[in-house]
Symmetry: C2
Subunit: 244 residues, 2 copies
């Protein structure tokens, strides 16, 4: 439990802060691709930290493919197309518009994945999905337990597609949304009633059992739109009509 607290309250380490600063400067366009960064020496003076801290920060940006460091010359900003990793700025998610966009992406991913899962799921998949479903409804308190079960439900469906990349992407997007909502509840207790609609989940599960891709897709789509609404995000209809 003590670990729990430590895990939630992320410690802001110096390299992390420096990396975040530079990252923002690059994303915002203040540092165009091709631009040379200040030297490590200059950066350490500018931020008032040691060169080691700057190096750790640059190591992160380098691993993400945001910059490229060349020995003897310097570090240069790379084009956004050459990113080696996808990362979502959690600050930006406090803006409802961005949350809306993320839900839209999630809807795209999960709707088609549900269809794939309906076509490919095995009995073992159905069992683990069912288990998550039961955990969701069985939980007395709408606290961590049922939210975790909800996430597990979606992850298990993604796993049932048999495509590990789909699983990775969906897990990632869901986790970002969960974290953001969790944060919103911490700062604004009004949000305490984040209800989970069990009926929507059951409909998805039944479509999977029946092996009906079209039904699974539309049930998942309806569910995500509903989930978005329940946290105050109005999803643009996307292609609810076009799916027919």
């Amino acid at each position: 439990m003590k670990q729990r607290l430590a895990a939630i309250g992320t410690v802001e380490t110096l390299p992390h802060r420096v990396a975040a600063f530079l990252s923002r400067e690059i994303e915002s366009g203040e540092l165009n691709p091709g631009t040379r960064l200040p030297t490590e020496q200059e950066l350490s003076e500018k931020f008032g930290v040691s060169r080691n801290v700057v190096r750790e920060a640059i190591a992160q940006l380098r691993a993400d493919g945001m910059i490229e460091a060349r020995q003897g010359i310097g570090a240069f900003v790379l084009a956004p197309e050459q990113r080696a990793a996808i990362r979502i700025d959690r600050e930006a998610l406090k803006d409802t518009h961005n949350m809306e966009r993320l839900f839209e992406l999630r809807c795209i991913l999960e709707a088609e994945s549900a269809a794939l899962a309906a076509a490919r799921r095995g009995q073992a998949h159905l069992d683990s999905i069912k288990e998550a479903l039961d955990r969701m409804g069985g939980e007395e308190r709408w606290e961590e337990g049922s939210i975790d079960a909800d996430l597990l439900f979606h992850r298990e469906i993604a796993r049932a597609t048999g495509n590990s990349y789909i699983h990775t992407f969906i897990s990632f997007v869901c986790e970002q949304i969960r974290h953001s909502i969790h944060y919103a509840r911490m700062t604004n207790p009004l949000h305490d009633l984040v209800e989970i609609n069990v009926g929507e989940h059951v409909r998805i599960y039944e479509a999977l059992v029946a092996g009906d891709p079209a039904a699974a897709e539309s049930a998942m789509r309806a569910h995500i739109i509903g989930a978005a609404n329940r946290v105050g995000v109005k999803l643009p209809l996307s292609k609810t009509s076009g799916a027919k």
Copy 2:
């Protein structure tokens, strides 16, 4: 231990190699979530590098949410659900099955995005998409030029959705595929005839101009399946039939 490694393109730095080693150990399951890593001291001795190098490696893994370091205690492996970034192992993409899965994910993302783009695109979007289309056909040599134009074409469509996350995700997936194919061509000259089917692109563009989401979606789906076939990846039908 003075190996001369003339890796093409990327200079293999020590922190990168250490991070890759640890990363693989975690991904492969040798280090389960919750496990404590050896101390920085031990790692630096084990790999024969300085503690600074180990720290830079750990900084990368930490930024990705693969491990969590707690001052005074140690560093611990985190569960795969808590990843803060998506990263695709390029080694794994040499396996055709993985390439197939990635194409499937791309198909999901781009098909629905094309539909969204058809509904939301403005004139400026159409112009830049058309420009990429012209660059693609105009190129004499099927070398870098037309491949870049092809990627740009897809990115501009993603941008026309007005959803920056969709744009990020699609750009990322496309870039991983491009890099992998580029690498395959380097090692196996047989692949030299990676043709680009202009007709498929034109059909997508026309659907966008017409503002027809359903047509855009099916044209995009057909195009990606075709593109996969042309590089030797047979895409499982996914939901070509279910889309009707």
